[in-house]
Symmetry: C2
Subunit: 135 residues, 2 copies
DNA sequence: CTTGATTTGTACGTATGTATT
DNA sequence: AAATACATACGTACAAATCAA
């Protein structure tokens, strides 16, 4: 329940509620969220605050939005296995805008940066890759 | 230059300008951004739009904010090396709120999820870890 | 195919609170 | 204590994409 006297920001409280519903499985991958307007009415807060709550979860990788469509719980993508040989290094970070569009990565999903022992650098979408060390 | 007739959202245009200045090295790690108010005046847009631009870059891991202080370009943290043995699997994702606070991870930084061949699962802050496969 | 309703996106303004300088 | 800077919260209006009749 969102409580104005709790001291925490309304949008953070709503984000927590929705996050809990997602992790508890009440909102399953692919499920549609209620509209921003409806969420605002039912939780007695402005659409602005609702949007900020949703944005938090989008950036955590839990939700996807697109204009005109309802917001949905993100579905796990099939993961390809990327093999790591001895000496390969890996970092992770958020993609640049350009990388996001090139690789088709949604907001809220990081990338792997793989530096092969030979020096070559590869970029892999984090949401659809699993690295496996094989030595 | 931000152009209202360009068709793209003002905050996206400003985010692009700032991102370019960061990647070009004109805004170096640790550097302070101008205040939201000043950016709004100089680019002729509302503070609201400026804040949305900055939020984009925070979620890309390029900026850090904290209340009362000016916004800064994020500095690279020292990276610890985490060794991967044959059979270890790695995924990457954004941390949950709880994980972010436990591990002291700023907004916009992903985590490594390392599944050891034995079955144990480790979490490593992406911004301060490099994985190295050793076989 | 067209229309109208729904839903998210952009943009502004205002006011107030809280933390830092 | 005062000024500065970011945070929260509301309201309004309109645009653009999608959906449903």
């Amino acid at each position: 329940m969102v409580d104005r006297n709790e001291g925490r920001a309304l949008h953070r409280q709503l984000a927590d509620l929705l996050r809990d519903q997602i992790t508890a499985g009440q909102l399953r991958p692919g499920a549609y969220l209620p509209s921003e307007t409806y969420l605002g009415q039912t939780h007695d807060m402005s659409r602005t605050a609702v949007r900020r709550a949703i944005d938090l979860l989008v950036n955590e990788g839990l939700l996807t939005k697109s204009r005109g469509q309802r917001t949905r719980v993100r579905e796990q993508r099939e993961r390809r296995v990327v093999l790591l040989a001895a000496g390969d290094d890996v970092e992770t970070r958020m993609p640049t805008e350009a990388e996001r569009h090139q690789l088709g990565i949604p907001i809220g999903e990081p990338v792997f940066v793989v530096r092969r022992a030979g020096g070559r650098v590869e970029l892999h979408a984090g949401s659809s890759s699993t690295l496996r060390a094989i030595g």
